[in-house]
Symmetry: C2
């Protein structure tokens, strides 16, 4: 079934319309998410609803539901897992926005900017606790295994975030370190979404592992594309200047790759990171990176992980339609014109 | 056995030496806590160890171990629960210190002050996630029930913290609102410590409920004493000026009680809270509160909850020695010269 995937790396335009499976998942998960938020202290309803009203495509929730169906379960059985992973994702956004000092998300004020840092810290803590509450309320013995996977993924995500912060204080980061950070920061929760959905859908160990592996690779591929767009994204669609991540001196994959090659380009990067670079320097460095093949190398990493993720799906027997949907979601989240 | 309790409210000096049971608990729990911290991302070891090195008497951990023994279990069976409640307590301290802007705890720089806010947020998140990981690793089917109680207590604690923050923006708070806030902020986790210890020790439902109730009342009594010391504590032992909580305009029990009585004293409080009061005004208000009987009323609330907590223990059959230790810990944490 992998033949239905647009050939990676050929530059063929991938589909960017939200896949039906994700839209369907949102319609199941959003009411359950809203009901869960009702359980929070009333003083937290306004900030949490403000944040959730910003939207989001519920990719993690969708993956959980599709994974349950892929192993022969019902999507309904995975709803508590889907809600739980969305809650963990959103608590991390609330806290990351404080850490990064980001005042806007999806063209709206972030919670800390609108309600204060204290409220954003506590609201994040509340969503993290709620995730475990929702999961342990699931009417199935599999909730135990699901909760354990969620807690482990949360911890891995935190490790990734912490590593990312530690990179800021460093001159150099290797590609391996960068990939390990992205595996934690993005891969762990996407992996858990798939594995938890599978477990709640009644999967045996092998199917849950395979789906978890698909999710992890998908997360890394997604993050690699994100890194690519952070440097070469179209300013009219990203809303950010060319080379935005370089301007912010973020140690993402393009930077790690260039540093790993050494030579004049690596020296140039270390140099611009040691001062506050202006837009002209950034654009020049962006062109040098592209000419050195760094853009293609990042794209190749994304493609490689996408293929590995899809390969994991081929190791186990999955229901046809959900498997097709997993391919569709994979193409969607790694599309380069998002 | 309640006769062994120093009569509350008589002003008799309570024992303030750390009870043997807590010292014993620390010796069991600290190595397990250290081992759990090893599981965190290496970048978080230093800030977390810095925080934990500040000490603490492990009251919550001690209660979990004693509760397990009280229902006929071993203290060892409750160690994962004891570690988990300590982790939740400490994550809340890390985040509260940011929210309150406190730069020192136990005469050492707080984590945010020493390592930055981002690190303190992430380190707190990591400890919260670790608590669930540790509990779900406990080699007993009771871990599920224990994890559920921990997640619920965490959420209740967050509600209390959130209510406390919301009080800051208000002129008036009722005694009921204040007690509900303190039940969440302090009572919930002490309650969970006891109930989780009981559950891991093999308790039936009734014993776990009774021990949980003891813990909740103990938490409220502890908090009431804390509020008392926040206004009338001896500056040489609290390290804070007379009326410190009034100076900080905190809406604790003494304030809620005085506001509830109305009249000139309530007006005076609203008035000093509407401006930045100086130390002379604070001392005058402190004397007025005392003359109006507010100090005694707070002490009576503490005593009432202490008695209710001890009463809960008498509803079920508990092993003699651990029960005696629970009484000892209750006297210790509600002592007014701490």
């Amino acid at each position: 079934m992998t033949t239905s995937l647009a050939q990676p790396g050929t530059g063929r335009t991938p589909p960017t319309q939200v896949p039906d499976a994700l839209a369907r998942a949102s319609s199941l998960v959003v009411p359950a998410l809203d009901a869960a938020v009702e359980r929070l202290d009333p003083s937290l309803h306004e900030p949490v609803r403000h944040h959730l009203a910003g939207g989001g495509k519920h990719v993690r929730a969708g993956l959980a539901l599709i994974a349950a169906a892929a192993v022969g379960g019902t999507e309904g059985a995975a709803v508590p897992g889907a809600v739980a992973v969305e809650l963990v994702h959103n608590y991390s956004l609330l806290h990351d926005d404080i850490i990064d000092g980001d005042r806007e998300r999806r063209h709206r004020p972030t919670v800390w900017a609108q309600f204060g840092e204290g409220v954003a810290i506590v609201a994040g803590d509340a969503l993290a606790a709620l995730a475990i509450q929702v999961l342990l309320d699931a009417p199935t013995p599999a909730r135990m295994e699901a909760a354990r996977r969620l807690a482990d993924a949360n911890q891995a995500m935190i490790s990734g975030q912490s590593a990312d912060m530690a990179f800021e204080a460093r001159d150099r980061v290797t590609v391996e370190e960068c990939l390990a950070m992205e595996r934690g920061k993005t891969g762990a929760l996407l992996s858990a979404a798939c594995a938890i959905g599978a477990v709640l859908g009644g999967a045996d160990g092998a199917a849950a592992e395979a789906l978890g592996e698909y999710g992890e690779h998908l997360g890394i591929a997604f993050q690699a594309v994100d890194d690519l767009l952070g440097v070469w994204g179209d300013p009219t669609s990203t809303g950010k200047p060319v080379g935005a991540d370089l301007l912010a001196r973020k140690k993402t994959l393009p930077v790690a790759l260039a540093l790993g090659r050494g030579g004049a380009l690596a020296d140039e990067l270390v140099s611009i990171f040691s001062r506050a670079p202006d837009q002209t320097e950034i654009e020049r460095t962006t062109r040098l990176l592209e000419r050195a093949g760094v853009r293609d190398a990042v794209a190749a990493i994304a493609d490689e992980h996408l293929l590995q993720g899809l390969g994991a799906l081929d190791r186990v027997v999955l229901a046809d339609k959900p498997k097709e949907e997993l391919l569709e979601v994979a193409r969607y989240v790694t599309a380069r014109d998002r």
